[in-house]
Amino acid sequence: MGKPSDLVQGTLDLLILRTLRPEAMHGWAIAKRIQQISDEVLQVQQGSLYPALHRIEQQGWIKAKWQESETGRQAKFYALTAAGRKQLEAETANWNRLSAAINLVVREAS
């Protein structure tokens, strides 16, 4: 069970941006979605999630809005911005390149 705090900070940003691409969500939903899609491998703790969310918000890649959630309570929903989409593409490309390179090395070594 790897904790995303082991990952580089930028990777968590990438996960968040990707998760928000289809629709706007609140923090809890983002964590759950990541957990779900990664087959329970990646479990994002609140201690990493919220600082990351607020940092990304400061940088202008996501925008926040308070809305009524599915439970009826007010929650803060985050949505991707245009700049965020661009950033997502860039980071995805980066990640693909990086992971391909790592794969090469790992396959070589073994």
Binding site: G27, W28, G47, Y50, P51, Q58, Q59, T71, A75, A83
Partner: protein
Amino acid sequence: MRLWDRWKMAFRALFARGVADARLDDELGFHLEQQIAENIAAGMSAEEARYAALRSFGNPALLREQSRSTWSWGGIEAFIHDARFVSLSIGRRPGFAFTVVGTLALGIGAAAAMFTVVDHVLLRPVPYLDADRLVTIQETDGSTRNWEAPWIDIDQWRVQSRSFSQIEFSGKMSGRNFLEGPDAALEVSGQRVSPGLFGMLGVAPALGSGFVSEFGKNAGAIMLSDTVWKEVFAGDRRILGKAVKINNDSYTVAGVMPPGFRYPAGISLVPQVWVPIELSSDERTRDTDKAMQFTAIARLRPGLNVEQARAEMLLVQKRLAAQYANDVLRHDHASLHVEIYAETLVGKDVRNALLALLAASGVLWLIASLNATNLFLARNTSQQRESAMRMALGASRWRLMQQTLVEGLILSGLAVLLGVGLAMASVRFLAHELSQTLPVPAPATLDEWVLLALAGLTVLTTLVATAGPALLAACTLVAPAIKQGGMQTGSSRRQNRMRGALVAGEIALSLTLIATCGLLLRTIYTLHHVPLGFRTDHIVVAHLSIPSYRFKGRNMTDSLYMPLLDRVQHLHGVESAGLMSEAPLAKTFVLHLELAMNGKTTHAYLKAVTPDLQKIFGFHMAAGRFFLPQDTAISQPVIVVNMAYARQHSPDPHNPLAILGYKLLSLIKGGPQMTIIGVIDDERQDKVAEPAVPEVELALPQITPESGFYQPVETVAMDLALRTDQPMAAIVPELRTVLKQASPELQNATITTMDQIVEDSYGSQRLAAHLLEIFGASALVLCMAGLYGLLAYVVSQRTRELGVRIALGASRGNLLWMVIRQAGVMLLAGLVIGAGLSFASGKLVARFLYGVSVHDGWTMVAAPALLVATGLLAAYLPARRAANTDPMEALRAE
């Protein structure tokens, strides 16, 4: 995100932080709720679900902090938070804050005061435009003697030289000048200036248009200084175009210069007025009897420096000198001195003195900062547990450091405010002494440079005083600090050693200051005991500037001087009174005599005196007699010389007194030569530290208007001396009444005592000694406080241990010795380092010493002894407390 949204966020983060906080809480709360709901759905009971959720959530406070740290303005928020906390803690423990602020204020005040003076005197002594591009040009024979130049030379410089964009010149109006005012005449310093001079200086008149920049267009005009305008004419704006009288000559006011403007700059408190130079055809000659001589001041062309200008001008001058009439003159005018004007105002020894004092104030500042560091260290140690708790709760090390730094910054800021107040007060307090030595009046206000320096000083002080302790606080190990019980084992040995080292450092620096102060005090002491050659007690001296224009056509000896002397002698309480051109060491008025005797040209001082001076000053005649009342205008003309003169000019080189009876000079051209009737034993004339210069004295009653000496001797200045047992407060008003009777201008004469004149003549040494006394005393106090603080702390830390020792059988003496020994180690270390530093600094001040060697034994023993005594005094109370520890109390206390 669009710029607008960004600004909105930043705005909200700054001003609506409370709202943002609440929102963050809501967000986290929502997350928690969802987690709880999930846990319940997974099958846990409500309570279990809640606990599990909280556990997985982690530290909510930390979470909140981390999220908030991503918001902008985090730095300012932390600063404000710290500042509030600091003010709370100051309120709770004012003693600590007072001590720190007081300590730092001493150091900062000293440094600020010295820097203000240095900035005013050395960095910006003259209020002209681009003053560092202005140079003076003086003709010289290549040695240190120099002269003013005639117009014809200056004109040649203007034509031939390429180094200057403008050359202007000025000279002094002859004699003493008096401006007639409504009540009485005010003495002013009258300056003749070329019409373009003020323009070159870059200063425009505050009132009026000033002089027209061409020769010949300013007939009868005059410019007043702001002081004259305010004092005599009460700042009347209708002064323009009105007529004013200087020495009975009428001038029309063309303008008033701004306040604070002086030209020439230099030591003088007499207010100035300026008249334009009008050149007549008489001026176009090199004959010094016919043409006025001027001081030239020029502005360097952009891109040139002084050396280049000097090199070029030397070539020009070579060609020019050839035009002089004879060989002597050609030699005398062969070379030039070209120097930056501002640098000529401050003598080299004054500059060095100021810089040395600045360094000394820096040392004091360092001592104060070290003291503050010690205080912070002590305080932080007692707060160790609190710091450990904060770190356990999640504070970062940097955050802990921040708090100490902010506290240091605030306290330093307060100390700067207090220190500046101290500095201004002390500058005012020492204004008289400063004005004796410095060419510009002592500053009373701050300016940008000084404020900048102060800001820098604040930051620097903070860093020095708090960086160390802050780092230490941040590096405390959490577990041991929380585990330990109470304050008893508060600080580690390492910390105590560090504090001890700081105290030793303070002691070393203080020793340097005190030793240097001691050397200077010894110098003053030696100067005090140089035999002056005359008495100085109970002598009142009045410096008279003579309004000779009132006595035109009359014999001032008979109409002014003798009647004045007579009246003064009849004042109540006056034993004897006399007149002389200049009181010894007074530096008010010096006459130079050039003599051609035995084929050589020599120089001597010339003075006119009255006979009673011997009764007043009690000087000793080496041979012959002094003047007597019988030496009048109709008796044989006589002259008195001093030993220095006799040694130089005696016909018999082995017996200076053989000069007695020789003839020298004549009072009136073509008249009988004067006979040397007496030789005075040498006196100090200019400076106590310098040996006597050849001097020649004439009897004032013998000088008549026909004499060539009449004009220089009688029409400019005279000192009146009287021996009295009355106190100053009683004699001065009566004296002023008598002076006023003689001539109204004389009532404002400066009246002082001979003792004061001697004191003032010590100049920069006395100033330096006084300042170092203050610095040294402050350093001593700081050291004592530092040592006491550390020892008291250590003793209070070890109360338990001391109790155990006593219980185990140690005697009180043992405990006393323990503390004293600790103090002794620090003192010894400090003294050893300090001795090395003092040797080094002694070399720096060697030039100020007189009659005292750098390794003066007396000082080398007294200074350390003083420190040791102070140290032991500081250690006494803690030692006594240690010795009187009640073992039962100590062991019980916890």
